[in-house]
Symmetry: C2
Amino acid sequence: MDNNMLFREAEETDVDEVVKMLANDPLGKTRENYIHPLPDQYLKAFEAIRSDPNNELIVAVWENQIIGVLQITFTPYITHQGGWRATIEGVRTSEYVRGKGVGTNMITWAIERAKTRNCHLVQLTTDKTRKDALRFYEKLGFQATHEGLKLKL
Amino acid sequence: MDNNMLFREAEETDVDEVVKMLANDPLGKTRENYIHPLPDQYLKAFEAIRSDPNNELIVAVWENQIIGVLQITFTPYITHQGGWRATIEGVRTSEYVRGKGVGTNMITWAIERAKTRNCHLVQLTTDKTRKDALRFYEKLGFQATHEGLKLKL
């Protein structure tokens, strides 16, 4: 499977499949709205991401099917001697391919992408209720050195 | 003090003072490089932030002195029904004004700024060794629902 997986930036025609994947998730199902026609705000967000050189919505494709998605944001920070960071968010894999290493391939790909963008750090947060996710990222070398705080507006 | 505090985007002439503040911190002193002339990468990062409409380096000014700094990044996400988020990073206050509510004013200001940018969420991570910071953010309404993971490249 590894050899035939392809990563590319999402196109507008992929957004439906991406939202379907986001909604098919214990947390996602409570906050996404996968209906047809797809709510306009998804396409607006897609357009904002696509037009921003520091944001990339990446899909993993296998046999012409989208089997995974993640978003990478590249941010110039004044801290760490003006270092750029890559933030990974919204990582999901299709339920049909779970346990086949797709997530590992996706994060490994994202780390390499961060290197090509000269980032000194890759960061992400994961909901504390996702115990498997924490172990997954730690196995890939991430360290849970920080608390991730959120404030809903 | 509250009434006379002013918030504005940093200018190039502020960068020296900002880096001085970042370096005068238990964690910052191990990773910043506050020397003269200031390493070029700080100015490059400043320029990248200033030219990006989704990044703002904000300074708090009181009696013509910079007494605080933080960076806000606005990110369009496909998750949460295509919602924008504000990420706060690199929050520091001058040692001369600690305990005077400057940090609270800064975060409160940043939350309002996030609202004007139509964000549905404000997020940040804080190093687990900064116990006071966690309590500070929780008092302001943030919830530590996530693990914050980092991978150095």
